[in-house]
Symmetry: D2
């Protein structure tokens, strides 16, 4: 039997880290031949140029598709999809893969689903059906699900959601979050090594991680929201002799405002920001953190696996099912402070998180995804033509 060709589209560090265990498993399988189309922030030196990371992973690159316009305006994303669609169509026509594979809710996901739909290539989508709302990404995720041919969900409830919106059950595979697969595999590092990489003396369980992205529907307030966030969390850290490891935001409009607030944060002994961190370092930091804050989806999708309490600030994770580890607050210093206190020091709350149920996977998602792809015959038209849409 000939190898099945899979073209994977990836655009940003955070999404790549989730995809990575699937890609490495595909790469080492004899059934599949994979190539990557790399776009967006991966190609930006301003975002850590994660292309190098992909190359180190030994994954073959089909094409580099520039799609990130250097602007903080709202035109950035639709024009970025324009570039992606043009470049990806060219790539897909040449590579002629059996499957397209993409994860999430960003520009790459919708561009891939559209190309697959119009060019008659089976499109497999990871992480559909998530009921989160409030950000421009969220409707996109559902639009992608309506276009994609194969669904790999990270939670059982998400599979149900896909059925509700009319997706045929045979297309839906509940696999869990692949991020967990690779988190599990990361070894505990000596703490010295972590500190050395950070170039910062920092103690285990003595720091909070901060990851904050802009929310499209509140773009005008992004800057002041980040100022409030930094102010609240820095004061809290100072009072409690904690430190804060911040991570740079994604590339969305408004991200420049966050970067501006980051630049203005002027307490290098309390808070430091990192453009990007190697996966192993990052996982070890998460394992030893006291809490996570900001509004990253990791708070909901991955933090339970670390038994990590989370203070989610603002509306960016509205609607998502959480394992009980997340305290939702508004951009209000008092609320943030109170929630941080509970997250960091309320032992009852912290104990309860350790027992909480994790909805998002058991570390075997890659395996399930590969089994599903193995079982699908790309020549069988039942996969290509969606004969029921509602």
């Amino acid at each position: 039997m000939p190898m099945k060709k899979i073209l994977v589209i990836t655009g940003i560090r955070s999404e790549y880290f989730i995809l990575r265990p699937v890609l490495l498993a595909l790469q080492s399988s004899k059934q599949f031949k994979i190539k990557l189309a790399v776009s967006g922030a991966h190609l930006s030196s301003w975002h850590g140029n994660t292309l190098e990371m992909i190359k180190k992973d030994g994954l073959p690159i089909a094409d580099k598709i520039d799609s990130l316009f250097m602007t903080n305006r709202e035109t950035q994303r639709p024009k970025g999809i324009a570039a992606l669609l043009y470049g990806l169509s060219q790539c897909v026509e040449r590579e002629n893969p059996d499957f397209l594979l993409v994860l999430g809710d960003r520009e790459e996901a919708i561009a891939t689903a559209l190309v697959g739909n119009y060019m008659n290539v089976l499109t497999a989508h990871i992480a559909g059906g998530d009921p989160v709302y409030g950000n421009a990404d969220d409707p996109v995720r559902f639009a992608v699900s309506k276009l994609a041919h194969i669904h790999f969900t990270i939670a059982k409830q998400h599979s149900e959601n896909l059925k509700k919106i009319g997706e045929e059950p045979f297309r839906i595979f509940w696999t869990g979050n692949p991020a967990i697969d690779s988190i599990r595999k990361v070894k505990n590092m000596e703490w010295d090594k972590v500190q050395k990489h950070l170039n910062w003396g920092i103690k285990k369980k003595n720091y909070i991680v901060l990851i904050k992205h802009p929310l499209s529907s509140e773009k005008e307030e992004v800057y002041s929201q980040m100022k409030i966030t930094i102010s609240a969390i820095t004061s809290f850290a100072q009072r409690n002799r904690l430190k804060i490891i911040g991570i740079y935001p994604n590339t969305d409009p408004g991200s420049y405002d966050i970067l501006k607030a980051i630049e203005e944060a002027n307490a290098p002994e309390i808070i430091r920001f990192y453009k990007t961190l190697p996966h192993e370092i990052f996982v070890n930091i998460m394992r030893n953190a006291l809490a996570l804050t900001g509004n990253s989806s990791m708070g909901i999708l991955e933090a339970p696996f670390y038994c990590l309490p989370v203070v989610n600030i603002g509306k960016r994770q509205g609607g998502r099912i959480s394992a009980g580890n997340v305290i939702f607050v508004e951009h209000n210093e008092k609320q943030i402070t109170r929630a941080l206190k509970r997250a960091c020091f309320d032992q009852g709350f912290r104990q309860q998180i350790k027992k909480a149920r994790n909805f998002y996977g058991d570390g075997r998602a890659s395996e399930r995804i590969i089994n599903a792809l193995s079982s699908i015959d790309p020549k069988d038209k039942k996969w290509l033509v969606k004969r029921k849409l509602v």
Copy 2:
């Protein structure tokens, strides 16, 4: 109260004919200021250059957005969306409208919905929720619904379908098909004038109309399917002393194959094809036709209003609710012939159609759309942020 600015996106004759009564009503209203972004086939001389028609209608043009690549390959549509997204984002940023308005399931619909989503402009979509499947357009229609903020449906069942896929009820307005509004208003012309325009002597109720578009999932067979169609219908017409008025296909990949088969049709006394026809002429032709055949959505959505029997050939209208006027057949000469016979000469069938229920509107869709748009406050964030997606 200031006028509400509406930017309408239109890409092809068939879709423009449906939108037109809405546009003319908006144009004459004092509450709204409309402009059009014109793209795709409207800008192609090969497709009748319908831009001129729009200009004659007196509608102001915001921008002309070239989006139709001259190729018969499957790259045509995703690359076309690329061009649309880039050009439309530029236009929307400058025009800064309160609403975007688009109809249907084509490139313009998805490009508009994406721009509206990422640029925070309320997007109103006409004709969502239609359960038709089989063509690349169909999943796109549902993807558009997941992105759009306001839904105007052409059938009650479609409104229900939108609720099923998680759209909030307050966003959904059942308005009916605007095409019926303008069909109703077209006056009966003297038949001589119609014949003169066609440059062909032809009698009322003595001809069949043929409109056939490619189906994305059967692109390779488009040519042979059109050959079969023309052969069957031409023989039938010859035997029964009928004539056939053919209309050129849309621009989708495979359309060139249909054009090729059209060029090879060599019976000018029986069958003639027209690139485009003025709306008034076209409506009068439909009113006086004996039957309609091919695979246009008009067979299902508009023909009931004309009480016109339809022979739908192939899978392009799968899943759509029909008023009982449509006979579905495969690309098989015998089946086509038998169905044409029934459609044209079975008086029982023809009588029954006259009494059948029309699901698709009463001619007041424009009015309802305008009332809905009047009632919506674009500053009210409830419209912009979709707080429930499933």
Copy 3:
């Protein structure tokens, strides 16, 4: 020594026919590895889909770059270059060739020269330095020369022109027109075969070939100019019992107007138009024609090799050095008729052409181009950095 990688960019039949002998020679050489980026009209079914021809020639295709927008408006070409630049940059980054090779004055030439300039890839350009003016292509040709690193000219005078505009002499190679190489190699076919291919009974030396393209600076008049041309030449042919073999125009804005005039030509016994013809057939038709008319550059660059008299109508070949075989006239029936009479029947004139000097090559251009490319070390920075521009 490793093979030198050459990426060739081609966009239209006429240009491909000239390039072809070079490509076939490169393909069979052991020093070079070539790939083609194919764009524009090659990918259009409306223009004969010459992609198939390229495939038959066995040339490997690196990417298919859609760049032809289906419109007759002036936006067509700059927007086409936009698509070309995006797609070609992606291709060049992946292929990482030692040389880019392109011919002529069209969108592909300027896109290639820009990509080569900004991406630091040596760009070799065929046919620079031609002093022709009047069409939008002509300044482009010189812009390309200012950007390209290596020049292969088709005439000695063109080499001198390049020096005049500041190009360093070591970059300039006078090679002659590669078109002549392949014309020479085409065998004389049995005339029956030609007639069969044309599906038209036609006698040697009893027909005129008509090739007419739009002129950018007279776009508004293209239609009426073509009407005059067809009227004049058809009357002349009828009076003299000749036939006319017409060839479809290129894709430039205004080409639709020419096609419209072609469609309206209604004298199938006198004049017939062909979308595209295989090279062998075409060369045999040229060899046996009585004269060539229209405004194709072939009249000046290739007709001398056939000893063919030419009536050039309009301003499209202004400034070009001719071998004396060309009569220049305006779009004026009388002038055209008088010139055709001289071209077809003035034996003195016809004799003189046979003796005239051909400026444009001896059939060994491919050989010279390959020798030059062999001699160039792409690592030597002297080729990349143009240290003198005026």
Copy 4:
């Protein structure tokens, strides 16, 4: 007489500062109606978002054209031209101006010249004919001249150069550098105000200005070259108790490497970098500087007007005629130091500069440009069709 419509294309702070006096003069003239198409770095928050500056100048904006891809790879510029061509063609078709106006040698210049050429709009180009070589911009400048219809040169020698490359003399106007017009008009500010803006205590004639851009043909060495530069100049400043005011680089590939070296510069009491500075501040800084270093074209084109000695490091200004104020050195610490010493402290050299001849204008360029544009009838075809190209 109706006003002449001029569409000006601008993409980056440095170029805008030169154009600005022309734009303000056009804006206040009753003969002209101007609009701006704004692109590139103007739309990037990372580059100071100079769009706001344009808005403050009261210039109407026709369209914002995103064209800057966020990458440090060589694909950035050709893909940027792609976006520019698409967006600008759309803008030009709608605005239908009598003239396009653009300055320099960057992406905007070539995109504008191509659009003007293919869309038959008269294109006026400022600063053609400059014989500088070594950077990717330089051949582009000449390509633009071959395409543009009207030339405004900043030096008499440049006008001669344009004639040499075949431009018809009637198209060439020697106007001088418009930058001088606005420099002249800037009032001397109180030094306190300058220091306040810089947020740095600094004395007149006690600092060096550093502006350094990447060179396309040496992209790989940009980082190390900038390290050497900073090291040499910082040591020199430290030894001589001087300070260094650095300005951020342009957006070209390699600029990220310069930014990286800037970030690593760790002597805030000696050297500080500014993203962008208001024009008035910048001019006052130049007036009171001890010397300028780096590789900005300002060193050659504007510094003579300030009687400012310049140390030009590397090959970026090769071929340009200088007023004798420039010392050219390689990326070599010793050479740089020696040259700085001479530039800052050799009183003979400094005196001589004050007397040197300025080739680049007298501060009346705007006036001459406007007079020329007034004198040109855009309907006269002699301007549109270049009847001589060599």
